[in-house]
Symmetry: C2
DNA sequence: AAACTATTCAATAAATTTATTGAATAGTTT
DNA sequence: AAACTATTCAATAAATTTATTGAATAGTTT
């Protein structure tokens, strides 16, 4: 094997794995699976895909060894193969946000159209935690909260927030978080909370980002 | 714009930028440009591509805003738009190496076929630097050395190593490095040096990895 | 064992990406 | 201004990816 042949093979393999990520639906699936494992049905629902379609995309990810599979009862659950998959997604996400003005504009416009546009980064949250009284609110579905969450976070899924809003302390500043920077649950939560007179801000990143940084987490 | 539309657009944009990376030749170009700027002609030569072909791939990268262009005399030079591009490449590279056994095997086989298979990581080099007497040898072409190098590295391009080998101290352990983990210049150098009785090892990563870590660099 | 259920498979058409080729162009040098 | 040069453009065919549809399957529950 000569040098060129060697390179062709190495870059060929790397392109293969990159191609498996290079699709809008598959990127969305990756981000979802960063929260924990999901059945094909759940994945299809969350991504608005027909089931056969979701399955097909999952096969591509499986082929590339980016996801692991296991069956429980009648359902087949997919999960990310390991943290490097999320790291690659995160690097692409950050490259995209920084390079493509369209993305930042989309996020900004969407938030402003319905919610207050303001957020705090993990960095900022850590500072706030040192100084003041902060309530961290997880507004993802309970199943995801159970699979892993920021330590000491309170769980109130976004769907239940209006009814259960009085469970939250009035005095404390509330930081709401969800799946990641493109997840809008936290935005919706901040809108509800502000309207009810709470001081609330969204966390820019999501649980997987927190976890990757090695910060304290809990799970059931 | 509803939630689904918002997500479709965001992930659509992210997929677009990911697609621009998802090609063996373009990945190779990215890795090359991590060393500094190169003309289309040089890029074509380094990647064994016809010039029209290299140009076409560069247009794709330019469209995705991953590279910047500037003309000098008759030549047009391309460079990476910023360090996030290299970060994304690095994340994909590491994902690939970890997930695809084929890649590690390819690298291992290729090295073993011609050279001693042994290397030290940047981490390991830093430790060695604290304790012992180390000569860091840059075997990339001089132009790349001039654009940026590990601080205190000596430059002997791989093509000149045999003639100039006596410029190197006999006593000191030599760590040879080049462009990155898939670059074989350092392997070739180690082979030459070991044969001549030097104690030499290759650095696993390349100059861009060192630079990204914020470690001391120099340039002309 | 039969019935059921979630998921995968297979075939196909449409869309996208890629390599190839030769011509065109933008800018520089003479 | 003419000649030159590096790069880009444009057209095309082949290869790959994707969505869609309906059937098949593997395994579980009854």
């Amino acid at each position: 094997m000569n040098k060129r042949e060697f390179k062709d093979r190495v870059y060929g393999e790397l392109a293969r794995i990159t191609k498996s990520l290079a699709n809008p639906h598959r990127l969305e699936i990756i981000e979802l699976l960063a929260q924990g494992d999901f059945s094909v049905e759940q994945i299809a629902e969350q991504t608005s895909l027909p089931i056969a379609n979701a399955s097909q995309h999952l096969q591509v990810l499986k082929q590339a060894q980016l996801v692991d599979v296991n069956r429980q009862g009648n359902f087949i659950y997919y999960r990310l193969a390991n943290s490097n998959v999320f790291k690659a997604w995160k690097a692409l996400r950050e490259l995209g946000v920084e390079r493509i003005a369209t993305i930042e504009k989309l996020v900004k416009d969407f938030r402003q159209s319905k919610f207050k546009f303001e957020s705090v980064t993990i960095e900022g949250l850590l500072q706030k935690l040192e100084s003041g009284k902060i309530t961290i609110l997880d507004v993802r579905p309970t199943t995801e909260f159970n699979k892993g969450r920021i330590a000491n976070a309170i769980s109130i899924p976004i769907d239940e927030l209006k009814q259960r809003i009085n469970e939250l302390p009035k005095r404390s500043e509330i930081i709401a978080y969800c799946r990641g920077p493109f997840c809008v649950y936290a935005d919706e939560a901040v809108a509800v909370l502000n309207k009810a007179g709470y001081k609330a801000t969204r966390l820019e990143e999501g649980f997987p980002d927190w976890s990757l940084m090695g910060l304290p987490i809990e799970m059931n």
